[in-house]
Symmetry: C2
Subunit: 264 residues, 2 copies
């Protein structure tokens, strides 16, 4: 059993005033000392972006009752780096939770997601981390059905750890609690986005391009996050940051060379 | 043998006017029809960021002799998405090359790297892709020693494919050609960044935070990209975008639940 109250770092990518982070802070408050460091504006789709060309700012905010909280002008990953190096300083986060994101981070969306990149950034230093997302973009999305699952995971991880994993990508279907069948450990579904830019003209008559598109799932497995979500389950994908393609390595030895002393 | 001349998409994250992309365009020009779509300004550390809050612009530029080229106001990933959906339209890229980046993208830097995210974005649609980086931040870095290796890889891949892989993270040591021992297939080294923010005051006396830090390699394996680079080799890490932590999956079944009908 823990003697010291655990420190829980909370962040997101929708910004410190988004309803999703409020729901998450309230859900995890009973389990430790909560510290929030989150972007001061929406940072969806920022992936693992860092702010390098200019400095960022950090400002204490009084948004969550009785909770130490800061807004930051940087990306979600900047928030986590600043939290560790400046805000927490000599305190260690026992857990990092990110979200609850407004919209899906299942399948390949993990790559684009600021929510998941923030959680991954914390996990890089060995902090057990969870990114939470609800498949509902609406600002008035109902996060209540997520709460018991969030609390069950957080309690279990603070008490007994995450096994050999240290990063979970958790997605909630848009369903009332009574219709959610449970939580499932899944793999990341294979899929991608098919872009279809909206091309408009600015007042000077010049083309501008708005990114839009459609997610295509081309994975028929019943062990994927997409399958779980489509079938009424909360998906948990244990995730990591080693991008090495071990499966293809064996067939690549012919790319190795010795010295190349002249232009081929 | 190819009958049709292959289409080679070139991008980067240092911007369309960076010396590294010029070196790359010249290196790959003999092997196909080159199309460049690259950011109009430096986009280092942008990871897999997308531009969602506003539209992006695309403008034809005459920078590379005899080469169709565009600059884009978005991120490296935006460049690849626009290239596929708008610039190439009905043409298919046979290969995407990104870089040559000014600075290392070995180990965990792949996560933060716009260069690698652009290459990964192309690989998501099955386009064989390579990100190239030279361990030298200087604007007058010497890219000449990279050229024979770039050409050997591009020629081999256009003729015979990439085996089961479709994304390579290639890093060059900062060495003269005669001292480079060859190319090695490697895995991504385990490491991370230790942040040490530079805190300054703005003219109003308010703190601003500049990200800086030191990369810590904690992997002693001799099969990693960091080992190869430190020992005079060009590193090739076959990379992919499935972040599922398969190794830890088995020990996580206790996180699965059935219905949770009340707040726990």
């Amino acid at each position: 059993m823990m003697i010291k109250k655990p420190t829980i770092l909370v962040t997101n990518d929708d910004g410190v005033t988004a309803p999703g982070i409020k729901a998450l802070v309230e859900a995890v408050k009973p389990f430790g000392n909560v510290v929030v460091v989150a972007p001061d504006k929406p940072q969806s789709g920022q992936g693992h972006a860092l702010t390098l060309e200019h400095p960022v700012r950090l400002k204490a905010v009084n948004i969550f009752e009785g909770v130490e909280a800061y807004k930051c002008t940087g990306t979600p990953v900047d928030c986590v780096k600043l939290a560790k190096a400046v805000v927490l300083e000599n305190r260690t986060a026992d857990l990092c939770v990110s979200g609850i994101n407004h919209g899906s981070n299942a399948s390949v969306n993990i790559l684009y997601s600021g929510t998941m990149s923030a959680a991954m950034e914390a996990s890089l230093e060995g902090i057990p981390s969870i990114g939470f997302s609800l498949l509902d973009f609406a600002m008035d999305a109902d996060f209540n059905p997520c709460v018991p699952f969030v609390q069950k995971l957080v309690k279990e991880i603070l008490e007994n750890g995450m096994g050999k994993a240290n990063l979970f990508n958790v997605n909630f279907p848009k369903l009332p609690l009574a219709e959610i069948k449970g939580m499932k450990i899944c793999r990341q579904s294979k899929g991608n986005w098919k872009e279809d830019y909206l091309i408009q003209q600015d007042p000077m008559g010049r083309n501008v391009y708005w990114l839009k598109g459609e997610f295509i799932n081309f994975d028929t497995g019943e062990d994927t996050d997409i399958w779980a979500l489509e079938n009424g389950y909360v998906s948990i994908v244990p995730s990591q940051h080693d991008l090495t393609d071990y499966q293809s390595m064996e067939g690549l030895q012919h790319f190795e060379t010795g010295k190349l002393n002249e232009i081929c």
